[in-house]
Symmetry: C2
Subunit: 238 residues, 2 copies
DNA sequence: CCAATAGTGTCTATCAGACATTATCTA
DNA sequence: TAGATAATGTCTGATAGACACTATTGG
């Protein structure tokens, strides 16, 4: 068998295993648009490009794969995201020029306030608006991974309110609805949106109001169980 | 750092990567029950136990991870399943007594006829009824993986007809409905079930009939696009 | 004819879509 | 008061649940 240029690790047991990485796609909602966290690669492969805040699974530090995802996200944002969901695992010999490699991808969501301060102080970590990210030449297959995460999030917006984890802890229904509209790609009837959320009892009314422009809007918070809830009936796809 | 007993591979680059395996959970529907394909482990770790028809990713043979899943399934059944869907990746230092390991799991479906002959001739591969599998002491965390696959399939039964790939190529609506009832765990109104399938136009009427007992039943075949279809409204969960 | 299974008619309940109306704030 | 945004009333349409009914086979 011919020897390939490869990132694969060799062993005395005669089994070569590919390089194993984790790539979380961390989204947030800010200024009426969806943003994704990108990191500038100042060394190593794909140097100079921007990419996902991922890294290699460290079997000494990490008890499981999700721990790797959390570790990398904390490294880049200084906080744990309230939503972290395994997305898909991509492994082949084409995605990394060094050879066969595998990445376990995650979708993560966080409010913008929670990590704005830290991200703003660091120059190699940035929130990039989703459209702009799509036009950048990113490292490896990170562009495709972002597309997959975005599509999954679109589906979630049709039958759950888990996208709400991309909002700050307290938010208005208008904000939550607009985020869903962004994800789904079409406007939603305000009545439909509010009805289903009220009936499913997924939010806590903080009692506080936010005022800007017209009538003050009630501020809500997500109930802990809300990420698992699934509506029986979906919103209409665009 | 203390040296652990580990299945991890070492390298001259100083990166240790865990053992990488693939574990497909292949279901079929036969004699009014759901069965899962198990393989007897006659050597290696967990010797003597039954487990999933998985194996180690071979970076020489396999172009991508899904290819590994297909290869292992063909090895055990001699045929390619018509449905193969990535499930979840589990990786931690506890699941394999040898140390840190990772498995990329798949849900696969196939009709019983398609592989009955081959499976019957081999003694170390067996279809096991799902309840019975739950009572066996399986290798590694394969019991949990089967549970996860089963739960995913239950969800699919609520909003799609992809479970139909567990039927033979030609099947009756009664068979498809009963399979869904098994998965969901409750009876479905015949009218509801037929209506949604007819409206979504997911099946091809072969024109043939199957007769047994009463009035002959029409035989259908899945349309190629049917696995991706998603009903806007779910069946009620139990 | 009866038993058995396949397939349909039809009513109700639920909930998303549509859109008008009312409520509560600031300037 | 006007303008803006939040929140609600209410009608329609689509579709799942319930269940009775008809259809087609074998014996």
């Amino acid at each position: 068998m011919n020897k390939r240029a490869s990132s694969a690790r060799s062993t005395r047991h005669g089994i070569e295993t590919p390089l194993l990485t984790v790539d979380p796609v961390l989204f947030t909602y800010h200024e009426k648009s969806l943003k994704v966290l990108l990191v500038h690669r100042s060394s190593g492969p794909e140097e100079g490009r921007w990419g996902l805040p991922g890294g290699i699974v460290d079997i000494d530090m990490d008890d499981d794969i999700e721990a790797t995802a959390r570790r990398k996200l904390v490294e880049k944002t200084s906080v744990q995201p309230p939503y972290l969901d395994q997305l898909e695992t991509i492994g082949n010999r084409a995605r990394d020029p060094r050879g066969w490699s595998v990445t376990v991808c995650y979708t993560a969501l966080i409010g913008h306030q929670a990590c704005a301060r830290h991200v703003d102080t660091v120059s190699d970590v940035r929130w990039v608006e989703l459209g702009a990210a799509g036009r950048m030449k990113l490292a490896f297959d990170h562009r495709e991974i972002i597309d997959i995460a975005r599509e999954r999030l679109r589906q979630r917006a049709l039958y759950s309110i888990s996208p709400g984890y991309a909002l700050d802890e307290e938010f208005t229904l208008a904000e939550l609805q607009h985020l869903h509209e962004l994800l789904i790609g079409k406007t939603i009837q305000k009545r439909s949106f509010r009805r289903r959320i009220e009936q499913a009892d997924l939010l806590i009314d903080t009692g506080k109001k936010r005022r800007e422009g017209g009538r003050p809007a009630a501020l809500y918070r997500l109930k802990p169980a809300s990420s698992g809830y699934r509506f029986v009936r979906n919103l209409e796809a665009p």
